[in-house]
């Protein structure tokens, strides 16, 4: 054999061997290897999770939630599918609650002020020490006989915790319970109470309506009960076995909700009430309204003629008439009033106007309209009267009439206009106790901090307001043990009450707050027929309730007539438009401050997920911006991202420009939520807070600061801003990305076209 041939042979042999190995590999069954790198994530063996029902406390809506617990840690929050408010769904803030729970900037345990007030200098102390110090202070105040100088400042506390604090205050001898939240719908409550004699916020039945006319209600992101209303919205649009409902939004800018509307009606800021009344007048005049008091309505609405309204609202007459025609002819229709109609100096009037509109169109008390809610299960014991507002506390503090302040879970130093100087006022209070979880602008003023558990770590209950037409009682249970050295607020209050002794101690229930909740529910069980009917014994009922997350008589809606009479509302109807600070010549632009989807009133700003969540409308992350119409911006000579100064008669702030076609040229808008000076690493020194430059204008009837009651001017700074937005281009360039279909091209048509 020649050498060359030998090599050929070797070569061929090598190939043959390779072939053999390959075939050998090929016919092996899969999975006979060592730990392969070929593991798609689906083969990771899932762990076993436990689910606990509770209620979401990120806003006041009270969605029922399920918390996924693995290894004693909360992993995910999801809507409780059984729960009538959330129906298994949840909004951004609800989802992000866990990052509030596990926030690295939570106050880890009791703190006592060390340095000067407001310098954020605290030292950790033990719970015993903290409780005894506060008890001593309470006693001291009581000994001085200044019991009525004790103030309690909280967000609206839900359920039995609220009742416990009421008892505490009553036992102590003080009536100064101040509930404050930037968006707590006081105007809405007041207007409903005045117009319809309703204590509870009614259920706005978006789900079943065929025509939704919204006056600036941003229900898709923040307004009232966003998850519940959004669920209704989805059904209204594409629910099975029904026609597609039409949706018109009146708002000076295209909010997230307005973006979903079929028509956007950019009425001039402050004129929304006039528009509502003008539509009501058209309806009454057309003879659609057949009530006995039609002539009274006619008289009341007489000043709101179409010409006047068109001029005041800066809208086309045809458009107003068109809306009026559709609104009355489409059955059922529904008008709702949100922030942009209520955030003026005459906010209550606007909301009353919406009620009038609903009344004359015949939308009150019907399916697909406004449906009354029962008083919650506390009826009679804790009426939801509109109590004193934050301005009462600030006035008292300025007058040095506050002896001691108990503060929990809100941030007036951030959410009240800069001109009010809330922080300055609170510095006059000799002793402030805070139960807050985060060191924010208000908490830092306190002398001692007794951090409360978060809702995931604590017992509690929530009674939905607005409820979906029937009562919803949600039970909260501790789903994990406290992450930090915090204590149940209920336990703390009870212990303080017992420590002070006397009348307070008597009012305090025995045992722990957990016992108290169970006991209270057993009372509810025995008082409430629906509850007792659902289970044989209370223990059984309690076990079921803990598992399902609460109690609600599903679908037990009681028809309840609702009406508005001219007499009741006459004093709220006036031709006088909203007042704005700043002369139009000097300050040519209206400023709209609105709740940002993720941050609401600023409370979400310390949650990294929400900071990094692009704003649904502008896609801006990690900062604030000011929305300006491109035409206005061209006139001012500013472009996207430029830093500008927004100056009102009460101050100025800086913010980068966001050019937005969807805003009136005479209006600029800024989101609320950023601009914290103190609120943990994720929130601090980021963006600007538009509330700082707002006037202290309040609606006298409710004490609510009017967010949209100032004009501003925009000044160039010449510097680039720090705008970070995720959308580079919002121009579709004809690429058919979001495809649309004209109404009527499918089976679902807007009902108005039937007429």
């Amino acid at each position: 054999m020649k050498r060359r041939d030998f090599l050929k042979f070797i070569g061929a042999g090598g190939v043959g061997t390779g072939l053999g190995i390959l075939f050998g590999q090929a016919i092996k069954p899969p999975g006979s290897k060592l730990i392969p790198y070929l593991i798609p994530p689906e083969d990771v063996i899932p762990g076993i999770a436990n689910w606990y029902a509770s209620a979401c406390t990120q806003c006041a809506a009270g969605c029922g939630i399920l918390v996924k617990i693995m290894d004693g840690r909360a992993k995910k929050v999801e809507g409780n599918p059984l729960h009538p408010i959330s129906g298994g769904k949840l909004c951004v803030r609800g989802q992000a609650g866990l990052q509030s729970l596990y926030n690295p900037d939570r106050i880890p345990g009791p703190l006592r002020r060390k340095g000067a007030r407001g310098t954020n200098s605290f030292e950790p102390i033990s719970w015993e020490e903290a409780l005894s110090e506060v008890t001593a202070k309470l006693k001291e105040l009581s000994d001085k006989g200044e019991n009525d100088k004790l103030y309690l400042l909280t967000s609206a506390l839900s359920g039995h915790l609220g009742r416990l604090t009421d008892d505490f205050m009553a036992g102590y001898g003080s009536t100064n319970t101040i509930n404050h939240d930037l968006f707590d719908y006081r105007n809405l409550r007041y207007a409903n109470s005045a117009a319809m004699r309703l204590d509870a916020i009614p259920h706005y039945d978006i789900e079943n309506t065929q025509y939704l006319l919204s006056f600036g209600a941003d229900f898709a992101s923040t307004w009232l009960s966003p998850v519940n209303l959004s669920r209704g919205y989805g059904e209204m649009r594409q629910g099975e076995y029904r026609e597609r409902g039409k949706f018109v939004q009146v708002e000076p800018r295209i909010s997230l909700t307005a973006a979903n509307a079929d028509e956007w009606v950019p009425a001039k800021p402050g004129s929304e009430a006039i528009l509502a009344l003008a539509i009501a007048k058209l309806i009454v005049d057309s003879g659609h309204y057949t009530g006995a008091d039609a002539s009274a309505w006619k008289a009341l609405l007489a000043p709101f003629g179409l010409t006047y309204a068109a001029e005041a609202t800066d809208l086309d007459k045809k458009k107003i008439r068109h809306i009026a025609t559709e609104f009355m002819n489409t059955r059922p229709s529904l008008a709702i009033g949100g922030e942009s109609i209520s955030a003026y100096s005459n906010g209550v009037s606007g909301l009353v106007a919406v009620n009038i509109l609903n009344h004359v169109a015949g939308n009150l008390g019907i399916k697909g309209g406004v449906r009354a809610n029962d008083r919650d299960l506390f009826a009679g014991t804790r009426a939801k009267k509109v109590g004193p507002g934050i301005d009462a506390l600030i006035r008292a503090a300025e007058a040095k009439e506050v002896g001691m302040l108990l503060h929990y879970n809100n941030n007036p130093a951030f959410t009240t206009p800069g001109t009010v100087k809330a922080a300055e006022a609170l510095k006059n209070v000799p002793y402030i106790v805070s139960f807050s979880s985060f060191m924010d602008e208000t908490t830092v003023l306190s002398d001692i901090i007794l951090p409360a558990n978060m809702s995931y770590e604590d017992w509690g209950d929530h009674f939905a307001d607005p409820a979906p037409g029937y009562q919803v009682a949600t039970l909260m249970q501790p789903v994990i043990s406290p992450v930090y050295k915090t204590r149940s607020l209920g336990d703390t209050i009870m212990e303080l009450g017992r420590g002070v002794g006397g009348a307070v101690a008597e009012k305090m229930p025995g045992g722990t707050f957990a016992d108290h909740i169970k006991e209270s529910w057993s009372k509810l069980y025995s008082q409430n027929k629906g509850m007792s009917a659902s289970a044989l014994t209370f223990e059984r009922f309690w076990r079921d309730t803990l598992a399902t997350g609460g109690w609600w008589p599903e679908g037990a809606y009681k028809e309840q007539k609702l009406s508005v009479t001219p007499k009741r509302v006459a004093r709220h109807v006036s031709k006088e438009p909203a007042k704005f600070d700043g002369a139009a010549t000097q300050y040519p632009l209206h400023l709209i401050s609105y709740a940002q989807a993720g941050h609401l009133d600023g409370r979400g700003a310390n949650i990294p997920w929400l900071q990094e969540l692009p704003d649904p409308v502008t896609s801006v992350v990690w900062g604030s911006w000011v929305e300006i119409n491109p035409k206005t911006a061209a006139r001012l000579g500013v472009k996207m991202g430029d830093m500008v100064e927004i100056e009102s008669p009460h101050g100025k702030i800086q913010s980068p420009v966001f050019l937005y076609q969807g805003i009136r040229p005479d209006t600029v808008a800024m989101p609320i939520g950023q601009g914290h000076t103190l609120y943990g690493r994720y929130a601090e020194k980021r963006g600007a807070n538009p509330i700082e430059i707002l006037p202290s204008t309040v609606d006298k009837r409710t004490g609510v600061y009017a967010l949209n009651s100032t004009r501003v001017r925009i000044l160039k700074t010449g510097r680039p801003g720090d705008l970070v937005k995720m959308d580079v281009s919002t121009d579709e360039l004809g690429r058919n990305i979001v495809q649309t279909i004209a109404p009527g091209a499918t089976g679902k048509v807007p009902p108005s076209s039937h007429h």
């Binding site: 050498r3 060359r4 090599l7 050929k8 070569g11 190939v15 390779g18 072939l19 390959l22 075939f23 590999q25 090929a26 899969p30 070929l38």
Partner: protein, 168 residues
């Protein structure tokens, strides 16, 4: 005992003439040169091109290697991707093309090593001058009595230098 003789020529043509003459006489001649002489050597020796078989063989191995590698391994783990067939044609062709070239090149090199008997670090007859400007003519298989004659012959053809050489 054969004593090889190396004649160093300054000119190609004289060297070739000498080589032809000696070869015709029956001596074994080997030409050393600093440059490839190509067809100038045709009068002395014509060689067959064996390299082409190696190249062809390498190309065939490459062909099989490419096909087996791509198709065989695809059968090893059946992982669909992008809606392409598990045994896709175009990539197989492409990779086979590359492997044909790779193996063709490698086998050509191996072929050269074999037919040129390289590397060879053993003792060989060599004169560094042939790497510069001399054309060497090595004459082997000389009967002992003919050495002088060959030397004379080389000189007469124009060799600068004629040496009796040994393997070094």
């Amino acid at each position: 005992m054969n004593q090889p003789v190396l004649g160093l020529f300054p000119h190609v043509d004289s060297m070739v003439e000498a080589a032809v003459g000696l070869k015709d006489t029956g001596y074994t001649v080997t030409v050393f040169s600093p440059i490839p002489l190509g067809d100038a050597l045709d009068p002395i020796v014509v060689r067959k091109n064996y390299i082409r078989y190696f190249a062809l063989f390498g190309a065939f191995i490459g062909l099989f290697f490419g096909i087996i590698l791509t198709l065989g391994t695809a059968a090893l783990y059946v992982l669909p991707r992008g809606g392409l067939p598990i045994w896709p044609i175009t990539p197989t062709l492409l990779l086979t093309y590359e492997s044909i070239i790779l193996f063709g090149v490698i086998w050509t090199l191996i072929g050269f090593f074999i037919v040129a008997r390289k590397p060879n670090f053993g003792k060989q007859i060599y004169d560094p001058k042939v790497a510069i400007d001399s054309f060497g003519l090595l004459v082997e298989d000389i009967r002992e009595d003919k050495i002088e004659e060959v030397e004379q012959l080389l000189k007469s053809f124009g060799a600068d230098e004629v040496n009796r050489v040994e393997k070094s």
